[in-house]
Symmetry: C2
Subunit: 254 residues, 2 copies
């Protein structure tokens, strides 16, 4: 299996970096081929700006969706972005590892998503019709691949529990798991949230090929009305909020 | 009223920029004093890195929490961060305006939060004891001030509805509204999500002083067990997920 690990912590001697090395060693010991994008070490640029779109004339407005669509279609993405897209196409599995800062990714990793997940590659893919709403949420360029988060969350586990003051960790990560990873097609494994760490991360690495993905609902699989994209009546009866978008126990895919 | 608007879009001629100007004009017409942090125009640096902490020796590890605590305590924050903190102290209300990219802030705005919300200023504030767990979630440096989001979300409103495929917009914004704004003390107004835009943003500006904040539960107000920080039994009976952390209709604060 080919694995890309994208790492976002500024300190090479941090616990996060040590756990990254534990994860990579475990994968390599199992015979997997691992590549690393260490964003701080690479000097990754976080901001979408005019430098990303050399085809834009000086008087053209920078509208990120349109500019991304054009640059991808014409093969004029910047070299750093094109290299990350090549890695994503190469990898069978993507791991994003980061500390949870303000209940979200560090800016540098958000900037990796903003810039690398180009129109035509990660969104704006596939046919729109009365029966389909593009290839996303279970379909898309990255379908057939796996993804998971390795997240170092500060604070007590209970504070992130079902009734904890921060909100449940699975809900806090939903915009990433569902909105960033499932959207372009990845099967998303449950996140590994770092507490008592090294043995746990080894165990998750051993299960990378076999762990069951989160059963998010496929957009075009029949669960949603098209074009309103609302969940059909009768589905998700036992759930609420984000839980609606995960198939329930015993509910098979249509 | 003094208002700080933090703006994160790369194009000065975008719809977002036009709506920002509509918002500022409406506030000024009502006699408010407005300052603008236009992050792209300022060339804001997104990444927390060693340049943020000149007090760190070349052999010191960069551990962001510890480095932030030390820099804030010793008055050695970088000039760009210190200037933003001064604006936040000055302002009675904070508005964050941004396009929703991948269901979250653009990297440059996340980097503003990561760098400006320093330890001792926005977190790590107040007494920890058997009865209190620091000043956060309803208390903190920014208590007594108001905050709100102005968000341009791509896609159909229904896709962000209660059963829409993206997840409900209020849930998607919870990590920002509750985790970034309510955490350091702001009273958080309902977000303005841009659809049919200009008249709506004017209306919200007219209500900046009077709109009822979201009734998030105060951490130390009696609703949570300390130190587990879990919501007390009997509260939130009609809610689930993030909804637990909002007081219900008719439920007064303890």
């Amino acid at each position: 299996m080919k694995v890309l690990l994208v790492f976002a912590h500024p300190e090479p001697q941090s616990l996060s970096a040590s756990l990254r090395d534990v994860a990579i060693a475990e994968l390599q010991a199992a015979g997997h081929d691992v590549r690393l994008s260490d964003l701080y070490a690479m000097g990754w640029k976080s901001e979408i700006d005019r430098a990303d779109f050399p085809a834009l004339g000086p008087d053209d407005r920078l509208l990120p969706v349109a500019a991304s669509r054009q640059a991808f279609a014409e093969g004029r993405l910047t070299a750093d972005v094109a290299a990350e897209i090549d890695k994503l196409r190469w990898a069978d599995a993507l791991i994003l590892q980061f500390p949870l800062w303000w209940f979200a990714m560090p800016a540098i990793l958000k900037g990796w998503v903003d810039r690398v997940f180009a129109f035509g590659f990660a969104y704006g893919v596939g046919e729109h019709s009365d029966l389909r709403w593009g290839d996303r949420y279970g379909e898309g360029t990255l379908a057939g691949k796996r993804a998971m988060l390795i997240v170092a969350a500060g604070g007590w586990q209970q504070h992130y529990g079902r009734r904890g003051v921060n909100g449940p960790i699975d809900d806090l990560l939903f915009p990433i798991n569902h909105g960033i990873l499932y959207y372009p097609g990845y099967a998303v494994l449950p996140p590994f949230v770092i507490e008592a760490a090294a043995e746990g991360v080894r165990k998750r690495m051993r299960g990378l090929e076999t762990t069951a993905p989160i059963p998010y609902r496929r957009q075009n699989g029949g669960d949603y009305h098209i074009p309103s994209m609302e969940l059909r009546e009768g589905l998700g009866a036992g759930a609420s909020g984000f839980g609606l978008h995960v198939r329930e126990e015993g509910e098979s895919e249509i």
